[in-house]
Subunit: 206 residues, 2 copies
DNA sequence: GTTTGTGAAACGATTCACAGCT
DNA sequence: AGCTGTGAATCGTTTCACAAAC
């Protein structure tokens, strides 16, 4: 598959959300213009985004909502569920474990690890926090598809290397650190303080 | 000020972090190449990013670490602290209130609001959760610079309109909803499930 | 008549490459 | 000699505009 821009993939995720909404409202077909309006973009952008993957619409009519939703799920790899390990049982970790949006999109958090003896053994949303020492054993017995990293910055790289060695191929990183991984592993870093800083910049420069 | 790309602003935030690190290590000067390596970009990119705002380096030498850090803080509007209201005392809200990265970057969460009577009046990290009914009164008495929105999607737009009416000019939105705001208000939406979906896409298409 | 799908054009961001300063 | 600052070139993304399909 030819390289598709990250911005395109993100928009496809959005379109899928809107399609689910439309489907819930019983809407049967949708035009690129309608999707565009809902997503704050243009109809040409919507059509171009979809055109990377095929032609799913009917001229003069638009797209069949359930069909396009199905196609997008396929494209995004959301036709299955994913097993996710949470590394770090701090504040953010605790919130994410209970965040329903993950489950709704097909991501099941199946284990939590921490270094803190005070946390190990406690119950989090039905899961027992495991010692990070058990990471290798646990993940070998019950492999995961992805990891969510919510450790302090200085621990992030070391844990990442263990995860990579265990075959984890995708990491969502909340630690404010740059992770070095081999090419076959995909990392997405979310830096919450940085998001506020872009707001601060916008407030300042006007 | 001429329009600067969002990607540029985000990199500036990163550079500032690295400069703080370098400063902590007693490093006095840094080249664009060194900053680039730390940030996973190129030296030309670093110099171009900075050039939008002035010329801060010395040819043949590089940049003075404390001076450049100071300049970046100024550019990003981080020479002051910001008062932030948290709207929604759910899981994510609770995590963010305690997230130290916000404070470290100059963002102080000074109030929390929720609709749930069971939560109103409880203490969160030293703050009392207030009823959303008190939003107008509270924010008029103690204005804030920004709001972090962590409500359910269907409540987001209504709260946003109240915040805008109260003069809030920047909103960090975690609700999976598109917010409509006037031009003078800046919104940054973070959609956590969507980040996992980009990973799912990357895993699927290889 | 309406709306898609898509080359072509326009725009924007990144990289190159080098003159100019220290 | 080393490194910045920047115009020019390149690369990638978005927008335009229209022929083709229904």
């Amino acid at each position: 598959m030819r390289k598709v821009a990250d911005s395109t993939v993100r928009r496809l995720s959005l379109y899928l959300r809107f399609l689910d909404e439309f489907e819930g409202q019983g809407v049967e077909t949708v035009s690129s213009a309608a999707l565009a309006q809902r997503g704050g973009t243009t109809s040409a952008q919507v059509r171009k985004d979809l055109s990377f993957f095929g032609s799913f619409g009917k001229r003069g009519l638009g797209y069949f909502v359930p069909e396009l939703a199905q196609r997008l799920r396929q494209i995004l790899g959301l036709g299955r569920r994913y097993r996710v390990a949470m590394i770090g049982a701090g504040k953010i970790g605790s919130a994410l474990v209970q965040y329903r949006g993950f489950q709704q999109s097909g991501f099941d958090i199946v284990s939590i690890f921490d270094v803190d003896p005070a946390k190990i053994g406690t119950q989090w949303n039905g899961l027992t926090v495991r010692s990070i020492d058990e990471l290798d054993r646990d993940l070998r017995a019950q492999p995961v598809d992805m990891a969510v990293l919510v450790t302090p910055a200085d621990a992030a790289q070391a844990v990442t290397e263990r995860l990579v060695a265990l075959g984890v191929k995708a990491i969502l990183n909340f630690a404010p650190a740059q992770l070095n991984v081999p090419d076959e592993v995909v990392v997405k870093t979310v830096n919450l303080a940085l998001e506020l800083e872009t707001l601060s910049y916008a407030l300042t420069n006007r």
